[in-house]
């Protein structure tokens, strides 16, 4: 990977796009997340169980979508970044076999109680355009140029 450097607040422009993040949803990736979070519900790995519920495949936990948004934000914000706020409304379900694309744009910049914050508007969609989250926004604290 390329070295992770701080992204200085002073260099960020409103309207700037975050690098998109694509994620292929495999049974392996859902099992890894289930194991890492102690979430052993059969929703996330048992095809026969979810078929009985009328679902096409095991599906991603809603908080994993948030975790991927935070991954994108932390990578973009660099070594000094810290996500302060993240919120979203869940609109669609992500199944094994889907590829999802996370996009973001800087919507505002502010200094609040000494914290340099970049506010970002985020989207998560499947490659067929299905909306996974709505009203997704984050505030990322960034480093200041020394």
């Amino acid at each position: 990977m390329t070295a992770l450097r701080p992204r200085w607040f002073e260099d960020v422009m409103v309207g700037e796009a975050l690098p998109p993040l694509e994620f292929d949803v495999t049974l392996t990736s859902l099992v890894m997340y289930a194991g890492a979070t102690w979430d052993f519900h059969r929703y996330h790995y048992d095809p026969e169980f979810v078929a009985k519920l009328g679902m096409p495949a095991p599906f991603m936990d809603g908080q994993m979508v948030g975790a991927l948004m935070a991954r994108q934000l932390m990578q973009w914000g660099g070594a000094d970044a810290f996500v302060r706020k993240l919120n979203y409304r869940q609109r669609g379900t992500v199944y094994v076999g889907d590829r999802i694309v996370l996009c973001g744009t800087v919507s505002d910049k502010s200094v609040d109680e000494g914290r340099a914050l970049a506010c970002c508007a985020l989207t998560v969609t499947k490659t067929d355009g299905t909306e996974i989250v709505r009203d997704a926004n984050a505030a990322v604290e960034l480093g200041r140029r020394p």
Binding site: M1, L4, P6, F23, S29, M32, Y33, G35, A36, T37, W38, D39, F40, H41, R42, Y43, D46, F49, G62, Q63, M64, G66, A67, L68, A70, R71, L73, M74, Q75, A79, D80, F82, V83, R84, K85, L86, N87, Y88, R89, Q90, V133, D135, G143
Partner: protein
């Protein structure tokens, strides 16, 4: 509109449940979580890199703390679920996630010993175009460490379909 919001159900608003983990979070838990997301950010595993950043050491990915599980003696239920659950008197357990609102107050580290307090903030019903009358359950989880520092707050909306 028929109401599913009984007095018994409403009595759950404001209820709390607190759990403390029996051990520290651990750096390995942080690394596994990052790996599961395909995340190679060195802040989450490389101590020498992280030491020279504003964070001064390895930190956890932001939402990790909201996925930690402090319960360790309950066996999984019939569907494999393990962890905190409210036994709400709802007509059906079928639910979908409505969304999350996270606040992150300070980075979580491997030596944090985590306590969570869950609370039911509100329960109400609403007519929706997609699913008819549904019941919204708003809950909040507050995470602290052994020093009493507030780490994160996670407000969740679950939508139950009667």
């Amino acid at each position: 509109m028929s109401t599913h919001i009984t007095d018994e159900l409403k009595s759950w608003i404001g209820r709390e449940a607190t759990y403390t983990a029996p051990e520290e979070l651990g750096r390995a838990s942080i690394r596994y979580f990052a790996m599961a997301l395909g995340d190679d950010n060195p802040l989450f595993y490389d101590a020498s890199f992280a030491r020279d950043t504003r964070h001064g050491g390895v930190i956890a990915p932001p939402t990790l703390v909201c996925e930690t599980n402090q319960i360790f003696q309950n066996p999984p239920d019939g569907n494999g679920y393990i962890g905190h659950n409210w036994p709400l008197p709802l007509p059906s357990s079928r639910f979908i996630r409505g969304g999350n609102e996270y606040e992150f107050h300070q980075p979580v580290r491997g030596d944090d010993l985590i306590t969570v307090t869950w609370r039911i903030v509100d329960i109400f019903e609403r007519e929706t175009s997609r699913a008819g009358v549904v019941i919204f359950v708003l809950s909040e989880a507050r995470y602290t460490n052994q020093h009493g520092d507030l780490l994160a707050v996670n407000r969740e909306t679950n939508i139950h379909q009667p």
